[in-house]
Amino acid sequence: MALGKLKKWLTGKRQLPGKPVSLAPPPALLERYRQYKRLLAANSAILTMVTDLQVKMNEGFLFDMHYVRSACQRLGQEVEAMVAALAAMSGGRYPGLEEARRRVEAKIVQELAGAPMRPGPLVLPLAEVREGQFFGAKAEKLGDLVRLGLPVPKGFAVSAYAQKLFFEQSGLEDFIREQIRRSHIRDLESLKEAGQDIRERVMAQELPPELSLALAQHLEPLGPRVAVRSSALQEDSLFSFAGQFETFLNVPREKVEESYKEVLASQFTPRVLYYCHTSGFAYQELAMGVAVMEMVEASSAGVLYTADPRQGGEAAIINAVCGLGSLAVGGVVEPDIYRVENEQIVARKVGEKTRMHLAAPEGGVLDLETPPERKGACLEESQVLTLHQLGATLEEHFGLPQDIEWAMDSQGRIYLLQARPLRISRQLKTEYLPPKLKDAEVLLEEGIIASRGAAAGPVYLLGEQGVQDVPQGAVLVTRQALPEYALAVGRVAAMVCETGSPTTHLATVLREAGVPAVFGAKDASHRLQPGALVTVDAYYGNVYAGKRQELLKPPPGDQVLRQSRAWKVLERVLKHITPLHLLDPRAESFRPENCTTYHDLTRFGHEKAMAELFQISARGPEEDGSRRLSSNLPLELFVIDLGGGLAPEAKNLAVVTPKHLRSRPFAAYWRGVEAAGWRGPRPVDLAGFMSVVMNAATDTNIRERLHEKNFAIIAADYLNLSNRLGFHFATIESFLGAPEESYASLTFYGGGAELERRRRRVRFLCKVLKRLEFQVELKRIPCPPASAAMMRQLWRRSWNSWEG
């Protein structure tokens, strides 16, 4: 029967009356290919989006939470589509992948939502306040200072959780939500009124008894007067301008509860209520800690910058006023200003200081005219230098210049009241470097920036040796940008690849690790001499001879941008997106359950999709939809077109010719075969003939193969050809799309001859292919595989051989 069908094909008369044979490709095959294309589209979208996120984070962009959220959402959708496509292609072979995807997604959602506010201590002594307990940045920093042994007034902090408890128990939360709901977003007055109502209601409520008790207990060891300071959770980045949160100085013990409530109430400004209208009311954003500290009877007070905020650099600026520090900033009075450089006061200016603030006997602050005897300099030289020393200690500990509030009592003892990172302004483009350095030997230019930065080191060309041998600090030079080179990322100073794009797996990993890399550097492996010291400039895509010190200075960091909440959230989210753990597809660990990032999922999905697609020929296609390819060569070949592989005029032809071929990989293959020509199986010598006959007689697989037809499953950009040339079987698969997703692979299954002859042939092919930069893997397996794992990579030419 099969013979009859074959005859029909050979005659090309398949449109017999009564029983038309379909020329459409088998639906199952077509569906699989469609899923593959969908997966590729998702793969490339994911890598592009990940690249974009890394660039936005590291290259000085301003973005907000809306951007981070929507980018994560789009990315998540593509990953979901990719996993679904692989499931459809493989008939659900990797159930673990969807589970892994859900785990990663859940982590990202959690990072975006922020840490939920969990019940915790309501009040803690400053020494015990640490990050992550919801006491707010100011109180947490004070806790650090106390633990460092620095002079901080005795005190304690109230957690933001205490506010939550207060608002929940007193019904304030419901009241606030109702006020927000009732106010009109287009009516500023109604927002103001709502804010006023909320503030009044906050002041009117009693604190929860346990909070009241804790406050009383912690106030007990403190002096009779305290300062009550807000310590917002989002202090610097978010609501700092949405309302100046209150600070109350010189508060008598019995009024602390009231001041505490006033600090909380100060949050509900019209701006905040406007924000809540659209974003809702959430304690993570609208709750604050409060620091309560013993009042320093200040004779003078002020602010200390451990660097010059206009220029940065080695200078401390101290300003000082008489009495309390509340007039030190804000421009009401002209403070004293001291500039300290190299442990010496280099400039001193005694300010006018027309007015001063003092602690009032009944509580609160007195605003007075400064008496003439106090109008001189507030600080002695030694006190200025002591302050400078304290500042230097803080800066060294936190690794950043600091902005510190201080006060000094009548005995000259200095106290630190608050510290936060100093914002340093810089002039734009102070350290401009031209795209190409003058007086430098350019070894390579116009490469693509795969990972920004610059680094120098000796060139190491990747050849026969594996990436595990790359020495520490080398500039690794490779022909291709293969994902497994990521194994060397921890050791190399920089990377240069002749091919590749910024959206490859490798580039993503390099950016993640901050390793500078230039891709698409043509001829790099010839132009860069092994061992030569070079500088890779991955700002402009050049490689220079020698060490170019001017490039190696890190550019002025955008500390300001990095303090924004959106930046911090993106940094956390990217930890679940960009790292790649599944580097080597041959490794035992290359499994769905080991995918812990979107990058892992993408890599796994793509790798397995290629393997799944390869299987379409191994399963033996149906004869449906196949047409005979008629040519001058003695090849019996049938073509199944999944779309775009044949010219439109061949649509209804049961027999097609090479001129109908539109599949780019197949057309390329055919050009090669035609050029080399093939006259059919070569006559074999007697020994060879006997070996074939003997093997064919004993090996049923070989005999089966001899009876198989040759199929080419093609599409515009795809070729999957199972080909038998005489006794030699090979499968050629190729996808020709974007550079990152293109590949060609050859699987040679040995032939019909006896083992030693087959081995020799394999060794020969192996050498030829290696020279052509194919990745070659030899496998010895008992019988030709139907489902053996395939090894292919992005933009990799690979070759597999099974010695039967």
Binding site: M65, H66, Y67, R186, Y274, S425, S564, A566
Partner: protein
């Protein structure tokens, strides 16, 4: 040194704008997340430049642009648009916005756009002054 009013309902963006502009230039920024409040500020104060997001609840950037232009026909407005909403940026330009910038943007982009606007403002001012002087001489 100029005075800038920045309006964006996204608080992170607003905080960043203020920090970046004040950190890298001599301009002073008044920032609000509420466009209604921004309109109120415009009535009370003089600003050299307005930076506003386009899509905001309550009152969108286009309305604010119209309000600003109504109060002062020379009002300079740079609109900030989300990625992929070029049409609204074009519409804003047609309604008299001086420039637009698409989120996310690099800090250099916004600083250069501000610089350009400020120089334009100075030129317009000088131009007016000269015209006035010319007319004075004529009569």
């Amino acid at each position: 040194m100029g005075r800038i009013l920045a309006v964006d309902d996204e608080l992170d963006m607003l905080a960043l704008l203020k920090m970046i502009i004040e950190g890298y230039s001599d301009h002073q920024v008044t920032a609000t997340n509420n466009p209604l409040e921004a309109a109120e500020f415009l009535g009370k104060d003089q600003f050299d430049l307005i930076l506003t997001d386009l899509k905001m609840p309550g009152m969108d950037g286009m309305e604010l642009l119209a309000a600003a232009r109504k109060m002062d026909e020379d009002a300079l407005v740079i609109v900030i648009t989300a990625y992929g909403s070029l049409e609204s940026a074009e519409e804003a330009m047609a309604q008299g916005a001086f420039d637009f910038i698409t989120k996310p943007f690099r800090k250099e982009q916004i600083l250069l756009a501000i610089d350009k606007a400020m120089r334009w403002r100075e030129m317009v001012r000088q131009n007016k002054e000269m015209k006035k002087r010319l007319e004075g001489e004529k009569s």
